[in-house]
Amino acid sequence: MTIATVDFVPTELARGRGGGGPASTRTVVAYGFWIFLLSDFILFSGLFAAYAVLSGNTAGGPTGAELFNLRNVFIETMCLLFSSYTAGLGALSAERRQPGSFLIFSAFTFVLGAAFLVIEAREFARMVAEGAGPSHSGFLSAFFTLVGTHGVHVTSGLIFLVYMVAQVVAKGLRPHVLRRLLCFSLFWHALDIIWVGVFTLVYLMGAR
């Protein structure tokens, strides 16, 4: 008995419309995760819309210009940007089967992400201590919801990262681990895109 082999030579390369047969698992997984990320953007669009509508309703309380510290926001932005960069380099190292440099880049990613969260948490604590908590006005409710939801996403990204590092250490860079790693790096880059919207709409426009 002979094993049937696919022996035709494609005259034309697949052009992204399924013409060459089913896509690889890796492509399907990443595409599904991409759809999830887009749904996450839609979640954030609701929060952005709520903030845009409520940002003027300070109920006699403090405005953004009085509360925001742009120096901290700039440091936060740089933390996220560089962590996105190291996450990308970590993903590349994993693709090239270099677990050592993957772990080093992941450590940088984790430290930068954690630094972002610490700065953000201290800002929140300071605002609440000054009496500008989320219950004070519509503006502050929308602010804490939007920025807090992003912070929760960063926190879950860090948990995701620890989980991925544990898998790489325990299982090595197997194909299914690499697929999860690809999802992690998509997630982490997407958080940075949300943050661009946050620092522009909330902090830079609010601090004027």
């Binding site: 494609p10 390369l13 697949a14 052009r15 992204g16 419309r17 399924g18 060459g20 047969g21 896509a23 690889s24 890796r26 492509t27 990443a30 595409y31 995760f33 991409w34 759809i35 887009l38 749904s39 953007f41 839609i42 669009s45 609701g46 952005f48 819309a49 709520a50 845009a52 509508v53 742009l70 700039f74 932005t77 740089m78 940007l81 560089f82 996105s84 960069y85 990308g88 380099l89 993903a91 590349l92 693709e95 090239r96 690809l182 790096s185 998509l186 880059h189 997407a190 940075d192 895109i193 661009v196 919207g197 620092f199 522009t200 709409l201 830079l204 426009m205 601090a207 004027r208």
Partner: protein, 120 residues
Amino acid sequence: MIGDSRMFDDRTPGVEEQEPTASYLSYTVGLGLAILLTIMSFVVSQTNLLWPPGIPVGLIVLAFAQIGVHLVFFLHIGTGPDHTNNVVALAFGVLIVFLVIVGSVWIIANLNWNMMDMPR
């Protein structure tokens, strides 16, 4: 095998299918552009380099530029024919985001405008 699967694949989001050095370069170029655009945003918002009433528009333009940089250099969403699925999904996401944000702001601004001044 790898050659075959590449030949038949749709493009995977988040993956740049070139030699690794090109990818390192892509991330580094993306980082440089993103830092540049971030600094421009902060400078524009804190100074009067731009005509002051135009500053919000300028900030929005800079934000869109930076989101574009992130999509191309970090998420590797391109315009090639293999990217059709990813780009169509992105376009749908952008449509919904646009409808939700612009629609909400529009409707609430209209309600605000129609609201009588209420006695306190």
